[in-house]
Symmetry: C2
Subunit: 208 residues, 2 copies
C-alpha cells in the first residue's frame, strides 16, 4: 500500500491531540478509523512510533494511571505530542495536493477536519471530488470504446463500481455545499461568532 507511512504518522499525531494514549489503544482507534478493510498490525505501529520518537514528534512516559482506565497497576508507555509534533500535524493537514486526496489519506484528513480552516477543508474536498470524477470519466470513456461483448458479471461489477463512485461524488458535493453555506452563515452573522458552529455535515438535499 506504500504511501501509508505518512498516513500513520498523521493519524497518530491527530489522535494524540485528544490526549495521551498508549500503543495498544492507538491501534484500536486507528483500525476503527481507517479500518474499513485492512487492519494495522503492531509490526507497523510500534516501529512507526519509535521513528516518531526519534524525530521528537512525540514523547513517551511511563504511567500507572491513564485517564479513563481504572487505575491499573500495570505501568504502560503513554505517548504525547510535542510542540514539534503539533506543528508537523498542522503542516501535514494544510498540505493540499495529490497526497491529500488519495483514498486512505483523504479519510484520515477528513476525520481531523475540525483541526483545520474551512479554506483547507474546501480545497481537500474539491480535490477529492475532482479525483473521483476523473476516475469515472476514465472508466466510462474506456468502457465506451471497448464495448465489445461484455460478460454479464463483469458488466454488473462495473456498473456497481460506477454507482458507488457516483454516490461518493454526491456525498462530497453535499459536504462542499454545507461548508460553503457555513461560510455564508458566518459572514451573515458578522461580528458575533460565539461557538455557534451549526455547520451541519449531514445530508443536505443537493442531489446531483
Amino acid at each position: 500500500m506504500a504511501r501509508r507511512a505518512e498516513t500513520i504518522e498523521l493519524a497518530v499525531l491527530g489522535l494524540l491531540h485528544e490526549g495521551p494514549m498508549h500503543g495498544y489503544e492507538l491501534r484500536k482507534r486507528l483500525n476503527l478509523m481507517l479500518g474499513w478493510g485492512r487492519v494495522l498490525s503492531y509490526g507497523s505501529l510500534y516501529p512507526a512510533l519509535k521513528k516518531m520518537l526519534r524525530a521528537s514528534l512525540i514523547e513517551e512516559t511511563m504511567t500507572t494511571k491513564t485517564p479513563g482506565t481504572p487505575v491499573s497497576k500495570r505501568p504502560r508507555i503513554t505517548y504525547q505530542v510535542t510542540e514539534a509534533g503539533t506543528r508537523e500535524f498542522e503542516r501535514l493537514m494544510s498540505e493540499v495536493g495529490p497526497t491529500a486526496w488519495e483514498d486512505d489519506n483523504f479519510d484520515i484528513r477528513f476525520a481531523f477536519f475540525s483541526s483545520t480552516d474551512m479554506e483547507i477543508r474546501l480545497r481537500v474536498l474539491e480535490g477529492r471530488r475532482t479525483r473521483l470524477q476523473e476516475r469515472l470519466d476514465r472508466v466510462q470513456s474506456q468502457l465506451a470504446m471497448t464495448q465489445k461483448e461484455v460478460d454479464r458479471y463483469a458488466a454488473e461489477l462495473q456498473r456497481h463500481g460506477v454507482e458507488s463512485v457516483e454516490r461518493e461524488v454526491r456525498w462530497l458535493s453535499d459536504l462542499i455545499n454545507a461548508e460553503r453555506k457555513g461560510e455564508l452563515d458566518r459572514a451573515g452573522a458578522d461580528i458575533q461568532d460565539p461557538g455557534a458552529d451549526t455547520t451541519s455535515t449531514g445530508r443536505q438535499a443537493t442531489q446531483k
Copy 2:
C-alpha cells in the same frame, strides 16, 4: 497489499481465457477491472508473467498480428493459457474460503463468475456478505461502547462508511436472490435448457 500475487495470477489467467493478449493490453484490462484506486505497474505485471511462464501456466509467442489490432509491423510477445493454466484457474475459482471474499480477491472472482458453477457463486457471495456484516457489527459495537464525545467530522465519516457497507450488503443480497431465482427457474424449465440465461444480475426489489 500483500495477498495480491495470487490475485494477479487469477486475473491474468481469467483474462487470457478470452484469447491471447500481450502484456501492455493485459495491464490495461487489469487496471480497468481492479483499478478502482491503485493501478498495477509494469514492475509487478511483467515479473508475475515471468513467474507464470516458469510455472507453465502460460506460454508466450511472438506475433506480428494479434486479432483486433491492424497488422502491426512490430512483433509483440503474446501470452496464452496452457492446459495447466486452465486447470489452475478452475482450481482457484472453486476455492471457497477467506481469501475468496477479501476485497480485491472478491472483485476478481466476481468478474469471472461466468466460468464457475452457481453453487460456488452462491458460496462466495454469501461468504462475502457475512464478512461485511461482521465488519459492520464490529464497528457498531465498538461505536456503542466508545460513545464519548465524537468529533463532528469523524462521526460523519463513520456514518458514511457504515452506509456504504450496508449498501454493499444489500447489493450482495440482491445478487444472491437472483442466483437462487435462477436456480428455481432452471428447475422449473426442466429438460429444456437452451441458452436461456435470463438470470438478471441487476437490481431486484429485495431491500433489506
